[in-house]
Structures are given as structure tokens and as C-alpha cells.
């Protein structure tokens, strides 16, 4: 091809790219929701003299143009692959892949946040608990604990976090569970741990809190694929997870009450397993206050768990050791309101939090 032809071809292809891009941007139907990113996409802004004069139309249009771009997910994947394989970036938007796992880098340790969390826990204890209540604290390491250092990513000192939390929470007995966990106990594409892999963690907690569990679990596997929260953020081609849940007689017979919405809910909401965040199948996801009653319990022990989302999947494993478990998520309900719903008398109390929440505890009320 001579230079003249090349110039013509270059002009033609460039103009064609712009024209086809414009046509597709304008003509293709627009998605309202991005399943992979789990968020609503920006709509076409309203055109008015006021919105144009104020500049709002233009700034909103920039968001719309990016969100509504044709084949958005494919382009995001091209970007992720280019960043990782061409530029050898160690992460893409803070998400990295290692040994088939996706994880969001968590660094550095936010000591002020750990202090804030422990102060909030102390304040709950002061308000509601007496010396008769047994109080426990356990820290769940996020999966970076098992992936980051080995793969050359920034890694927090998890032992130090546990020590700091144990020292600060001198009102609670610390139960160590990190020694029972490994990377395979977490979903490959999601933040959370796998319920079927943490029965030993539940057993450790129960044993330390002075109760026993049935441990006669039956594992069920959902047919549909589970694409966790990191899958969409990373935009990398990794295989999906399989979502599993365990059943035993106690779980089968217990009743769950959602105080936030005043309704009974199932332990495992299989409809939510098909929704935008399948992990929400465990106790119906982010609900501020839930009570699980175990009518067949051979004990009258009660437990209140102050928890984050990791608590949703472990609580059913603990129910066979209690007559009632209450789960309070004080990110969504102010602790001062709990007295309207929870009787702490004679209850054991467990503060069970992941390092992800403890390191960003500004959400804890």
C-alpha cells in the first residue's frame, strides 16, 4: 500500500469509527442497570434552558455518555486486560487477581478506625450489658490476609489488627478464628466467606461461648452461577463461583423475623439468590435487626451478634446451640434504638466483624 492509499484508508477508517460510534451511541437501546457493576446507570439528563445554563445538563451528559456507551462491559474488560497484561499493572481500579481469586486491596491499617469501632462496641456494652452478660469479640480477616502478601500486593498486618482490637476491647473475651481460615474459605469473585467452609469457625465460636452445635449439615448447591461483587468491578474474565448453603434440623425448623420490615423471612431466601447480589440469600441481606428463633433448642441460651454481612452466613450455623440469636447491624440501626426490640438480660453477646468494616468503621453508629 502506498502512502496516498494509506492516508485515504486512515481517514476513511477513522471517520467510519467516529460515525459508527455516534450512530450506535444514539440508536442502540440503553440499559438502566449494570448487572456486572451492580449499580444504576446514569440516565439521559433532562434538557432545559436552566439545566444548560447551569452546566448541569453537560456534566450529567458526560456521565450518561460513559454509562450508556455500547458494549460497555466488553470495553471495560479490554481496559482491565490492557492494564494487567500490557502495562503489567498489579491491580485494576484497586482490584487484583491472584490464584484465580479477585480481591480489593485493603491498605493501610486505619488505627483511628479500629479505635472508633472499639469505642462504639464499648458504648453498646455500657448502655445495655451487665456483668452477667458474657461478651466476646472476634475479627474476621478479609481474604487479602491470605492473598495479598504472596502475590506482591499491599497487605495489612492482620495479626496486629487482631491484637489491637483485642487490646482495645478489654470488655470482651477475644476469640481467634483467623487460624482456621484460608483463601479457599472465601468466594473467588466476592468479598465474603463460603458458608459451607466455615463450619469449623462456627464450632470454635460455639465452643468458646460455651455451647455445642449439631454439626450434622447437609450441603446444597444452587444451580445458577454466582458472580460476586469483585467480578463486575474487576471486569476480568474469571469463572463464576457456585453458591452453596448448609441445612440441618435446627436451621430447617427455625423462624426468622425481620424487625426492620416487620415480617418473617426465610433463613435462605432463594429468590434473592437469583437477584443482583446472590449473597443476600443469607438472612435476606443487609437488614438492621433480625431474630432467629430455634423452637427445637435443647438450651435456653440466647445470643446477640453485632455483625456485618459476614454474620449473615455464619449465624444459621450457630443456631443449633441457642434458643434465639439476634443479629444487629449497627451500621443501619442506631444502638440507642435497640432497647425497643432486644432484651439483653442473660444473653451472650458477640461482636463479629470483618477487617473490611473495622478498617472503615465510620459507618458504625
Amino acid at each position: 500500500m502506498n502512502t496516498q492509499k494509506k492516508d485515504f484508508v486512515l481517514c476513511f477508517v477513522f471517520m467510519l469509527l467516529l460515525a459508527v460510534g455516534l450512530a450506535l451511541c444514539v440508536l442502540l437501546p440503553k440499559e438502566k442497570y449494570s448487572g456486572s457493576e451492580r449499580r444504576m446507570l446514569s440516565p439521559m439528563p433532562e434538557l432545559s434552558a436552566e439545566s444548560v445554563w447551569s452546566g448541569r445538563f453537560m456534566s450529567d451528559f458526560e456521565d450518561y455518555a460513559t454509562d450508556a456507551f455500547p458494549f460497555r462491559d466488553a470495553f471495560r474488560r479490554v481496559k482491565a486486560l490492557t492494564a494487567l497484561h500490557v502495562f503489567s499493572r498489579k491491580d485494576n481500579n484497586g482490584i487484583y487477581a491472584s490464584e484465580g481469586f479477585l480481591a480489593a486491596m485493603e491498605y493501610p491499617v486505619n488505627e483511628a478506625s479500629l479505635a472508633h469501632a472499639s469505642e462504639r462496641f464499648r458504648s453498646v456494652c455500657r448502655k445495655y450489658l451487665t456483668e452477667e452478660n458474657k461478651v466476646y469479640l472476634s475479627v474476621i480477616p478479609d481474604k487479602n490476609c491470605f492473598l495479598a502478601e504472596e502475590s506482591g500486593h499491599l497487605s495489612m498486618n492482620y495479626e496486629d489488627i487482631e491484637k489491637q482490637m483485642a487490646d482495645r476491647a478489654d470488655f470482651a473475651e477475644y476469640i481467634r478464628i483467623s487460624d482456621l481460615l484460608e483463601k479457599d474459605d472465601y468466594y473467588r469473585t466476592d468479598t465474603h466467606w463460603r458458608q459451607e467452609k466455615i463450619t469449623d469457625v462456627a464450632e470454635r465460636l460455639a465452643q468458646k461461648m460455651g455451647t455445642t452445635l449439631s454439626q450434622e449439615y447437609e450441603t446444597h448447591t444452587l444451580e445458577q452461577d454466582f458472580y460476586g461483587v469483585y467480578y463486575g468491578q474487576a471486569a476480568l474474565p474469571v469463572p463464576p463461583d457456585q453458591l452453596q448453603y448448609v441445612m440441618d434440623a435446627a436451621i430447617n425448623s427455625c423462624r426468622v423475623y425481620d424487625w426492620q420490615n416487620n415480617r418473617e423471612i426465610p433463613v435462605y431466601d432463594l429468590e434473592r439468590a437469583e437477584g443482583r447480589d446472590p449473597y443476600e440469600m443469607f438472612l435476606s441481606g443487609p437488614i438492621s435487626l433480625v431474630t432467629i428463633e430455634n423452637p427445637g433448642a435443647r438450651t435456653d441460651k440466647k445470643l446477640v451478634i453485632f455483625r456485618d454481612s459476614f454474620g449473615s452466613s455464619i449465624a444459621p450455623l450457630l443456631i443449633s446451640g441457642y434458643s434465639q440469636i439476634t443479629l444487629a447491624d449497627i451500621r443501619y440501626i442506631h444502638p440507642d434504638l435497640l432497647e425497643q426490640f432486644v432484651d439483653f438480660e442473660g444473653c451472650d453477646v458477640l461482636f463479629l466483624y470483618s477487617t473490611l468494616v473495622l478498617n472503615h468503621s465510620e459507618t458504625i453508629k
Binding site: 500500500m1 486512515l10 481517514c11 477513522f14 467516529l18 470495553f75 479490554v78
Partner: protein
């Protein structure tokens, strides 16, 4: 509107090109003006009026200056025109700086204006000044308002240069040709500029951002920041200039070059011949030479150099660190002029190290948010304040951005251009390059689109000037 945005690439640009090439020749400047006003209004709808007033005043004063050029009145009109243009700049860009400093010195509490900086005001004001001064110096005034407005507001170079001088472009406003060859050159330049911006500058900007937010400063991290910002500002700004020059070429204009591999310079004097050429030559022709240049003795010349470089620094931003940045170059250029230049010529390697080191230090000052941060960043380079030599974050950043830094380092030299030149010298190599070039450029476009769709880091540094 950013060149590196979906709204520009896939909405504005195709529509602007269609409009421009669809209208007859006599309407092309009007089409360009309309596109430029939409482009500017997209980001600053209210400030379109300010720009319009500036253009109208420039047009009117141009006619008056031409009419009275040979009389004293012409000089007065020229001075009024320059003063009015500068007053807009002073009001919108520098008022709060002066008020703040007066308050700090006197203890007064004069209220600050808090005016938003109109994008590109530094660039289009200088273009209007160049127009009226050129007319005063003998250039024919533009009789067609649309032609002049199209020149001042031309969207490819409106908001971040290069500063196109009227006398360089006056002929092209009315008589320019369009060809596939010119358009292809422009497209090539545009795509390369976009790649410099999106693939290199934005990623280096992420590294600078990571340094700024890090609580684990270390000597290594401070040096990585200095290196990455030095590369970042080059790829960001020269990328924009490439895009501007490329788009101008598609529309039939030939803008002056703005960068010529500045980091291969062997002295600061050479660096400023290669860096932001349009600004350097503007200050030379419209400030340094009118002040007397080197024609009134060494002492006056050195004073002129100091003044011009402090103004150059001040042009970049209304803050003391920019003035110090400019003054630093004044001192260095003076030192080179007086005795250093001869010594630098003795060792090419040492002179490169000297130049890069000082340029890097200057950009650390340049990018600081005030002198306090500048001093702290500079202190970090020598480990002052008890910071460690290395930190985990620095090592991670080095591993994660190593390739980008390497690509930036190589891309800042003419190595790639020279390699391409060598390949094209061979007929077979030339044929292969011809065949590959359109495909490579289009793949680059798609990859850059992917980066934009992913919505990564994307501000242009020179928009704030």
C-alpha cells in the same frame, strides 16, 4: 469538554467534522466558530459571553489600531486593548491572589471574589493580545468578525494551546486547503496525542495521586513522585498539544509545534527552547523584546529575564509556588547565560543529569499546593523529616507502575520516532509500516475508548492555567 471523553470523541467530534466538511468553503469558518462555541459552552456556558466580549473588543480595537497605526492614537488604542484583555485575566484569575496577599500583609479583611476561572482564559487572552499587537506592528486587521472569532475560539487549541499567533494563521483563515494527506497527518497526530494522554499521562497521574494520599512517605516514593509528575505533565500537555495540532490539521490549519522532546535537553536554556514553545516565544516577542531584550546592557537584560520568567510562572497559576518556579528558571537561565553554559558543553552526560534534575525539582515546586507543600516534597527527596528510604507503598507503586514509567521514559525521547524512521528507510519496512499503521491507530482508539468507558482518572493539567 475534554478531548479525552466519550462525549467529545463519539458525539461532538463526528458532528463537528460532518458540519465542517458539509458546508461550502466560504462557510467553513462560521461552521468552525459554531462548533467552537458549543465546545466551549459545554464546559462554561456562562463564560461564552465573556469570551464573546473579549473577541468583540479585540476585533474593534484591531480596526481602530489599524486606522490610527501611524499616529500616537494607535499606540494608545493598542495599550488600551492590551490593558482591557489583561484586566479580564487579572479579575478572573488573579484577583483573589492579590486580595489574599493584601489581607495577609495588612491584616485587612477584604472579601475575596471567589470567581470560577474561565477555562482557557490565559490562552485566548494571549491570542487576542498577540492579534492587536501584531496589527499595531503592521499586520492587516481582520475585517471579518467571523474569521477573527473563529481564530480566537478555535476549539482544537482554545483551552490548552498551543498559543496560536494571529500573524502565523492570518492567511490560513481565508485560504487553506484540505487533503487526505493533511487529514491523515492530523488524525495520526490526534490519536498519538490521545494515547499519550490516556495511556501514559493518566496512569502517571494515578501514581502522583497515590503518592499524595499516601501516609507512608519514603525517599523512594518522593523520587518516584518527582519522576512520575515530570513525565506526567509532559505527556499530559504535549499530548493535548498533539491533539490540538492534529485536529487543526484535519481542519486545514498548521499550528506551530509546542514541544520538541524537552527532556533530552542538555541545559535549561535548551529545555525552554523545547518546552511549551508557543508560550516561550510569546513572552519573548510580546514582553522580553518590548522591554528591551538584550539591547540595553547586561544589567537590564538580566532584569528583563527575571521579570519575564516570574511572569511566565505567574501565568501558570495565581500562587507563590508558580512565581518561585518562574524565578528559579530566571536564576538558572541567567547563570547559564553568564558562565554555566560553556561548562555544561564539556560533558553531555552531566549536563543531561543537571537539566533533568533541576527540571524535576522545578516541577515538584510547580505541582505543590503552596510553598509549604513544595518545601515538604523537596525535603522528602533528601530524606529530611526522618522518613524511611523505602516503604511498602513505594515498592508496590514501583512494581505496578514500572512499565508505565518505562514507557514514559522512552516515549519522552525521540527513540520511537527514530526507529520508525529507520524502518521506513527500508522499502519493505516502509510497506509493512504503511500497512500496519491504520490498524494500529484504530486498535489504539478502541483501547483508549475502553479506558474512557471505564471512567478512570482523566483531568487535564493545563486546563487550570
Amino acid at each position: 469538554m475534554l478531548f479525552s471523553s466519550i462525549s467529545f470523541l463519539y458525539y461532538f467530534l463526528p458532528l463537528a467534522l460532518m458540519l465542517y466538511f458539509a458546508v461550502p468553503k466560504r462557510m467553513k469558518n462560521a461552521a468552525l466558530l459554531l462548533s467552537s462555541l458549543i465546545f466551549y459552552g459545554w464546559g462554561e456556558p456562562k463564560y461564552v459571553l465573556l469570551m464573546g466580549v473579549s473577541v468583540l473588543l479585540g476585533f474593534g480595537f484591531g480596526l481602530l489600531i489599524e486606522r490610527y497605526r501611524k499616529k500616537r492614537t494607535g499606540r494608545i488604542f493598542c495599550m488600551i486593548s492590551v490593558s482591557v484583555s489583561l484586566s479580564f485575566l487579572l479579575c478572573f484569575k488573579y484577583a483573589d491572589f492579590f486580595l489574599g496577599n493584601v489581607n495577609a500583609l495588612t491584616g485587612w479583611k477584604l472579601p475575596l471574589l471567589h470567581l470560577a476561572l474561565p477555562i482557557g482564559i490565559s490562552f485566548y487572552t494571549f491570542q487576542i493580545i498577540s492579534y492587536t499587537v501584531d496589527v499595531y506592528r503592521g499586520e492587516a486587521a481582520q475585517k471579518n468578525l467571523i474569521h477573527l472569532a473563529a481564530y480566537v475560539t478555535m476549539f482544537p487549541q482554545l483551552i490548552a494551546g498551543p498559543i496560536v499567533r494571529y500573524r502565523d494563521i492570518a492567511g490560513q483563515l481565508t485560504q487553506r486547503t484540505h487533503s487526505f494527506q493533511g487529514a491523515a497527518m492530523g488524525i495520526r497526530r490526534f490519536v498519538i496525542g490521545l494515547a499519550k494522554k490516556i495511556l501514559i499521562a493518566n496512569q502517571l497521574g494515578e501514581l502522583c495521586g497515590a503518592f499524595r494520599t499516601s501516609e507512608e512517605k519514603s525517599v523512594l516514593f518522593c523520587w518516584m513522585y518527582a519522576v512520575s509528575f515530570t513525565l506526567h505533565i509532559y505527556f499530559d500537555f504535549s499530548g493535548y498539544s498533539d491533539m490540538a495540532i492534529g485536529l487543526g490539521r484535519v481542519f486545514g490549519f498548521r499550528f506551530m509545534e509546542n514541544f520538541n522532546y524537552p527532556y533530552i535537553s542538555a541545559s535549561i536554556t535548551e529545555f525552554w527552547r523545547r518546552w511549551h514553545i508557543s508560550l516561550g516565544t510569546w513572552f519573548r516577542d510580546y514582553v522580553y523584546i518590548p522591554l528591551g531584550g538584550n539591547r540595553r546592557g547586561r544589567k537590564r537584560q538580566l532584569m528583563n529575564i527575571l521579570l519575564v520568567w516570574m511572569l511566565t510562572g505567574f501565568w501558570h497559576g495565581a500562587a507563590w509556588n508558580f512565581i518561585v518556579w518562574g524565578a528559579l528558571f530566571a536564576v538558572l537561565l541567567t547563570a547559564e547565560k553568564l558562565w554555566l553554559l560553556e561548562r555544561l558543553e564539556k560533558s553531555r552526560i552531566l549536563s543531561h543529569i543537571y537539566t533533568l534534575l533541576l527540571v524535576m525539582i522545578s516541577f515538584v515546586i510547580f505541582n505543590a499546593e503552596g510553598m509549604e507543600q513544595a518545601c515538604s516534597d523537596l525535603a522528602g527527596l533528601v530524606g529530611a523529616g526522618g522518613i524511611p528510604l523505602v516503604s511498602a507503598e513505594a515498592l508496590y507503586a514501583l512494581r505496578s507502575f514500572g512499565i508505565v514509567l518505562l514507557a514514559g521514559g522512552i516515549g519522552a525521547t525521540p527513540a520511537v520516532r527514530n526507529l520508525a524512521g529507520k524502518i521506513t528507510e527500508n522499502p519493505a519496512g516502509g510497506r509493512i509500516l504503511n500497512l500496519l499503521e491504520p490498524a494500529v491507530l484504530m486498535v489504539l482508539m478502541l483501547v483508549m475508548t475502553a479506558y474512557l468507558v471505564d471512567g478512570s482518572f482523566n483531568p487535564f493539567l493545563y486546563f487550570r492555567f
